[in-house]
């Protein structure tokens, strides 16, 4: 059975690109426009993988990541961070958040910087969930 992959990105261009990559690689694409909608979808659809943008309105990318990674039920879902900002900046912001909120959130399983070749993205997904 095809696996479900959720794309959370506020940029419709990115969504259509990722959705196309997913379809071409026989995954079932699900989409959400921001972190709030993303969490609803995760809870409802229980996707096998989430491809998540970091920079979204209301800081919702980072928030959704922390939410999923600190939730006992959800933290097993692998997340591919797919973003325009460099990994270093992302980790720095996470570290600041760790210190601020206490506790430690694990680093993302996969961190991809935009832009990316379709094959590269497909490969990263395949590596995670087959």
């Amino acid at each position: 059975m095809s696996k479900k992959v959720l794309v959370v990105d506020d940029d419709p261009d990115v969504r259509s690109f990722v959705v196309t990559v997913l379809e071409e690689n026989q995954y079932i694409p699900l989409v959400a426009q921001d972190g709030v909608e993303g969490l609803e979808m995760i809870e409802k659809e229980q996707p096998d993988l989430v491809i998540l943008d970091v920079l979204m309105p209301r800081g919702s990318g980072i928030r959704l990541y922390r939410k999923v990674k600190t939730d006992e039920e959800l933290k097993k879902i692998p997340i591919i961070m797919f973003t325009g900002i460099a990994l270093r900046s992302f980790l720095k912001s996470q570290k600041a958040l760790d210190e601020f909120k206490g506790g430690e959130v694990p680093k993302p399983d996969v961190y991809l910087e935009k832009p990316i070749e379709p094959d590269e993205l497909a490969l990263a997904i395949k590596k995670k969930i087959g």
Binding site: D13, V14, F17, T20, L55, G59, G84, I85, P118
Partner: protein, 508 residues
Amino acid sequence: MSANKILLVDDEEIIVKLLSMSLRSDGYEIVTANSGEQGLEVFKAEDPDIVVTDIKMPGMDGLELLKRIKEIDSEKEVIIVTGHGDIDSTIAALQLGASDFINKPVRDEALAIALKRAKAKISIREKLEEYTENLESKVREATEEIRQKSNFQRLLIRSSNDAIVAFDHDWKVVVYNPEAAKMFGEAAKDVRNKMKIDDLYTPKIAQIFKKQAKEDKQQNTFPWKENIINTKDGRQIPVRYTSNVLHKKGDFVGTVSFFQDLTDIKRLEKELVQSERLAAVGQTVSGLAHYVKNILIGLKGGSYVVDVGIRNNNTEKLITGWETIKNNIKRVGDLTQDLLTYSKQREPEFELCDPNDVANDVIELVIDTAKSNGVSITKELDPGIGEVVLDPQTIHRSLLNLINNAIDACIEDEDLSKEHEVMIKTYKDKNNMFCFEVKDNGCGMDEDIQKQLFDPMFSSKGGKGTGLGLLVTGKLIEEHKGIIETETSPGDGSTFRIKLPIEKVDNG
């Protein structure tokens, strides 16, 4: 100065002795002679202050002695001792300039009074001399001082970096320094005392000065103003100038005006603005790189989707991909436009337009984006504005920027309970400025963001903003001589208000 030395002349030795004793005891210094001849010699040798001489003496008599003494020093006090009733001699002595007379026999009191009178006369004369002498030197000093001062002033006027031109009450040029000659391009010899204000200045400037002279009765200095002078040889010179209307006892006696050539300053200002602009563009590049990368992501993604559409003969994919590509091509276009606008100097292109039409056009452009993000757009466009002369491009670009920012501020707002709304208003304020207002109830801005609003490269939108929007808006509005006002409160939203001067209103 006390006149204290007395020459006594009498052929009767005993009288000389007695008078000498008496006068010495009064504190005088006495020299004596027993004849006119001897008296003259002693006079020359001793230079007494006062001479007392008997009139009747053998040989040279008192009158002769008086004459000789007066020849030597016409001012000398000579007291004549006469016999009683000797009127003829007395008259002769008076004619020769005797100062006083004492009758024989000489009484001490009479002599004392005569001497005192003589002394007083000497003292007055001395004071007068002193005073006169002082006066002369004072006048000399003052003249020298005035000469120096006027030299200094002439030098000051000549060497001044300002062009100085003064007119008399008849508007004839009386002062015209070398700098003025340089500025107006007319030689001093052809101007000073020859030209009138209308010969030198263009009618517009001449009118300003005449009007000022008419109105000003207080001899006020006028504040520096800027203007353009058209010289007779056809040059246009930007100047700063001020002038003083001169009055004497309430009557107009002339004006003096000072001009500073601003050509160099204006050029430097222009260069500075230009170089700052270039530097700002340079700074913006790093922010831009991010934005360009995002466009590239869009283009690559879009072309992949199109490829898939072609391969699978999937029209839906073709449309989606093509939309993405077109979107991003538009972004490149907008960015290029912004960069060009910002890096080039642009004069507003004024034309008769209805700003409400422009506002409606812009709203049309953004309404879909707003709707799909749950932001409603409302408008309150004052139909009373009518057609005005403005640069519609300025309004279009600025309004588009502000509304896009307002929508972004709503999208960015964390408070999801709000009905997000962007309100666009147009109106004319009481100063006859055309105003448009873009008000949102989005996330608002904190002080940090507010401070950097018009900085190049600053964007609060991550890679999704170029950091050029408000920069370009600010520049356009500045070129239009308008102003931007901002009100904001974090969590409650922001209002941006642009006020543009209306060139002229078409009443038709």
